[in-house]
C-alpha cells in the first residue's frame, strides 16, 4: 500500500527519513537521531493535546455550556410549537403505518397495547433535555424527538392521546430545567478543580493542587479498590485452590496432576522466597528458596523470549514500511506518473 497523492508521498518520505534517523543512534548518537527523538516527542504531545480538546473538553464542557447559554434565551413558544408540530407528524406516521395493516405487529410490541403516559413523559424528557440539543433549531428538535420515539417502542397510534399528553407535559415544561443550572455549577467546580492542578507551577500557591489530587485519588481508590481486590486478589487466590490429584474416566490424569502440582509448588515456593522475616538457614528452607528461584528464572526466561518477539515485531513493522511504502511505493508512484 503505497502513497496515492504527492502529499502522501512527502509524508512517506518524511516518515522513512525519521525512521532511518532513529535507527542511526545504533551506530552513534548524532544530531539527526536527537532531532528525530525530539520530533517524535513533540508531535506525540501536540497531537495528544489537540485530540484531548476535541474529544474531551469540546463535547463535554464547551458545547454543553454554549448550548445551555443559548437555550436560556430561547423563546418558549417557538419550542413548544416545534415540539407540537413534530409530535403531530410522528403520530400521523404511526396512524398511516397502522392503516397499511401493521396493527397486528404493533400490538405485539411489548408494552405497546396501552398508552403509557409516564414513559411518554420520560422519552420527551430524554429528547428535549439533551445537553447538546439546540432548541432554536426546529429541525434539531424534530430529529431528536423522532430518534427518541423510534427506539422507545411506545404506542403512538392514538393521536388524540398523544396530543393530550403533550399538553399535560407542557404545563410543567421549562426550556432549561432547574437541574441544568446545578449541572452548570458542577461543570464550573470540575473545571476549577482541573485548573487547580496548574498551581503546581507557582510555588506560593502549589498547595491548592492538593485538593484536585486528593479528589482524583479518592475517587480512584473508592471506585477501584473493591473491584480490583475482587479481580486481582480474590479470584486469583480462588484459582490456585485446585485438586492435587486429577482423575478422569480412565483413572488418573497424570499430565493435569503434574500441572496442578507444579502450580501449587511454584506459588508456595516463590511466595516463600520473598518472605524475609527470618533467616532461611535450614536445608528445607534453602531447598524451597532454590525451587522458588528456579520458578522465577523460568518466568523471567519466558518474559525475555516474549520481549525479543515484541522488539523484533516492531523492527519487522518498520522494515516492511521501508520496503513496501517507501521504496516500492515511491517506485510505483513515479511509474504511474509516466
Amino acid at each position: 500500500m503505497g502513497p496515492d497523492t504527492f502529499i502522501d508521498l512527502i509524508g512517506v518520505w518524511i516518515a522513512a527519513l525519521l525512521t532511518l534517523g532513529v535507527y542511526s543512534s545504533l551506530i552513534k548518537d548524532t544530531f539527526i537521531s536527537k532531532l528525530t527523538e525530539a520530533v517524535f516527542v513533540g508531535v506525540s504531545f501536540g497531537m495528544s493535546i489537540v485530540f484531548t480538546y476535541y474529544n474531551g473538553i469540546k463535547p463535554k464542557i464547551e458545547e454543553p455550556l454554549v448550548r445551555y447559554y443559548q437555550n436560556l434565551h430561547v423563546d418558549y413558544a417557538t419550542v413548544t410549537n416545534a415540539v407540537t408540530e413534530s409530535m403531530a407528524k410522528i403520530a400521523d406516521a404511526e396512524t398511516v403505518k397502522l392503516s397499511e395493516g401493521d396493527s397486528a405487529v404493533v400490538d405485539n410490541i411489548p408494552g405497546s397495547t396501552v398508552f403509557d403516559t409516564n414513559r411518554f413523559f420520560a422519552v420527551l424528557d430524554s429528547a428535549l433535555y439533551k445537553q447538546t440539543l439546540k432548541l432554536q433549531s426546529t429541525n434539531d428538535v424534530a430529529v431528536s424527538l423522532q430518534s427518541a420515539f423510534a427506539s422507545s417502542e411506545i404506542n403512538l397510534k392514538s393521536k388524540d392521546a398523544v396530543m393530550g399528553a403533550l399538553n399535560e407535559y407542557f404545563k410543567s415544561y421549562k426550556t432549561v430545567p432547574t437541574s441544568r443550572h446545578f449541572w452548570v455549577l458542577y461543570i464550573f467546580i470540575s473545571v476549577l478543580l482541573g485548573l487547580m492542578f496548574i498551581t503546581r507551577f507557582f510555588p506560593k500557591h502549589a498547595w491548592l493542587s492538593r485538593f484536585p489530587m486528593a479528589y482524583t485519588i479518592g475517587i480512584g481508590v473508592g471506585m477501584g479498590t473493591p473491584l480490583s481486590f475482587q479481580s486481582q486478589i480474590m479470584q486469583q487466590v480462588q484459582a490456585s485452590f485446585i485438586p492435587m490429584l486429577v482423575r478422569n474416566s480412565g483413572g488418573i490424569d497424570w499430565l493435569a496432576t503434574f500441572g496442578n502440582l507444579s502450580l501449587v509448588i511454584g506459588t508456595l515456593t516463590v511466595l516463600y522466597y520473598f518472605f524475609f522475616s527470618f533467616k532461611k538457614e535450614d536445608a528445607a528452607s534453602r531447598g524451597a528458596t532454590k525451587i522458588g528461584i528456579a520458578y522465577l528464572m523460568i518466568g523471567f526466561g519466558a518474559s525475555f523470549a516474549f520481549t525479543i518477539m515484541a522488539r523484533v515485531s516492531l523492527l519487522i513493522g518498520r522494515i516492511n514500511f521501508l520496503q513496501d511504502e517507501w521504496i516500492q511505493g515511491t517506485y510505483e508512484f513515479f511509474k504511474y506518473l509516466k
Partner: protein, 341 residues
C-alpha cells in the same frame, strides 16, 4: 596517555570486542529483511489461548439465544406472578424484561466491544490482530462497537483499521463478507478521558457515556444503537492493548463487575503477565503478540498480515538462540580459564 599511568579504559579490547554490536545489529537486520522476502507458506499450530478467543466469538449466537431464552423464562415467571400481584414495581420489571428481550432479538448474532488501545509504537504487533479479529466479527455478522482506551493517540489508528476491515471483506480466504456500513454494522465511539470511570458509565448507559460517535453523529440516531443500551446488551469484550494496566481495567470492569467474557490482545512483552487470568477463567483467551495474531489469521482465514512476518521472527529467534549459546560457551570457557589461573 602518559606511560606508567593506569589505563582508565580497562584492558585493551580486540577487534571483535570493539565492533560486535554493529555486527549483531547488521545480522539482525539481515534476518528480518531475509524473513520479509521469504514467500514460502508457514503452518502454525493454534495455541489454546488463541483458540479460546476464536471459540468464544464463534459461540456468540448460541450465547445470545441462551440469554433470550433465560429472559423469556423470567418474563413468564413474572407474568405468572402478576396474576396475583399487579403492583407498579412488578409492571415496571415486566416492561424492563420485555425491553431487554426486544433489544437482544435485534442482534441475534451477537455484539462485541473492541477496545483498540495502542499507538504507532506497537502498531506493527497489534494492528494485524485488530484487523483479523474485526474481520472475523464481520464475517460472522456480529455487530462491532469500537472504542479507544486511555490513550488518545489510538484514535487515528483505530479509524484506519476499521475502515480497512469494513471494505476488505472480499480478501478473506473463507467466510467472505460484503461492504460493512458505519452506524449499521459497526460504530466507532472514539476517545473519552478517564477510561475506568468511562467503562463503568458504559455499563449503565453507553449513550450518556459517549453521546456521539467519532464522526460526531448522534448515537441515538444510529441504527446499530437501537438494540444496544449498556453492557447487558454486549456479549464479549476484546481489549487490544499496548499499555500496562489497560487489560486489568477491562478484566475488572468487563468480567468481574459485569460478568462478560473478556479476551485480550497483548503485546508480547507483557503477554506472560496475563496467562494466570486464563487459568482463573477471568479471560476467555489471549492473542500474545505477533504470533497470536498469526495464529488467529490462520484460524479465521484472514489475509496474512502477521503470518507473512513470522519468517522474520523465525530467522531472528534462531539468530538470538545462537547468540545465547555462543555467549554461554564464552562464559564457560572464560570461567575455566579463570579457575586455572
Amino acid at each position: 596517555m602518559a606511560s606508567g599511568s593506569p589505563n582508565i579504559y580497562g584492558p585493551k579490547q580486540n577487534f571483535w570486542q570493539r565492533h560486535y554490536r554493529p555486527l549483531i545489529y547488521l545480522l539482525t537486520l539481515l534476518c528480518v529483511v531475509g524473513g520479509t522476502l521469504t514467500r514460502l507458506p508457514l503452518s502454525l499450530s493454534v495455541s489454546d489461548a488463541t483458540q479460546g478467543v476464536f471459540d468464544t466469538l464463534e459461540k456468540l449466537p448460541e450465547l445470545r439465544a441462551q440469554d433470550i431464552e433465560k429472559q423469556q423464562a423470567l418474563l413468564a415467571e413474572k407474568l405468572e406472578e402478576a396474576k396475583s400481584n399487579s403492583g407498579p414495581d412488578l409492571q415496571k420489571e415486566i416492561a424492563a424484561i420485555r425491553d431487554k428481550i426486544a433489544r437482544l432479538q435485534m442482534n441475534p448474532k451477537g455484539v462485541v466491544l473492541v477496545c483498540i488501545d495502542f499507538d504507532p509504537s506497537t502498531e506493527a504487533e497489534l494492528g494485524p490482530m485488530a484487523h483479523a479479529f474485526i474481520r472475523h466479527c464481520f464475517s460472522r455478522g456480529v455487530k462491532v462497537l469500537i472504542n479507544t482506551g486511555g490513550n488518545v493517540m489510538s484514535q487515528p489508528l483505530a479509524q484506519n483499521i476499521i475502515s480497512a476491515s469494513a471494505t476488505e471483506g472480499a480478501l478473506m480466504k473463507k467466510n467472505k463478507y460484503d461492504f460493512m456500513q458505519d452506524g449499521v454494522d459497526y460504530v466507532f465511539f472514539g476517545f473519552r478521558p478517564n477510561a475506568f470511570q468511562l467503562y463503568l458509565q458504559m455499563g449503565e448507559n453507553i449513550l450518556t457515556a459517549y453521546e456521539t460517535d467519532y464522526a460526531g453523529h448522534d448515537l441515538t440516531l444510529l441504527p446499530i444503537m437501537r438494540g444496544i443500551r449498556n453492557f447487558s446488551d454486549i456479549d464479549m469484550v476484546f481489549s487490544i492493548s499496548g499499555y500496562v494496566g489497560s487489560p486489568e481495567t477491562w478484566i475488572t470492569v468487563g468480567n468481574t463487575k459485569f460478568g462478560k467474557p473478556v479476551a485480550l490482545g497483548q503485546v508480547a512483552i507483557s503477554a506472560s503477565d496475563y496467562y494466570p487470568y486464563i487459568q482463573s477463567k477471568q479471560i476467555c483467551g489471549m492473542l500474545p503478540g505477533l504470533r497470536g495474531a498469526a495464529e488467529y489469521e490462520g484460524a479465521c482465514g484472514s489475509p496474512p498480515r502477521a503470518t507473512g512476518r513470522m519468517w522474520a521472527q523465525l530467522y531472528t529467534h534462531t539468530f538470538a538462540i545462537l547468540l545465547i549459546i555462543i555467549g554461554n560457551l564464552e562464559f564457560f570457557f572464560k570461567g575455566f580459564k579463570h579457575r586455572k589461573v
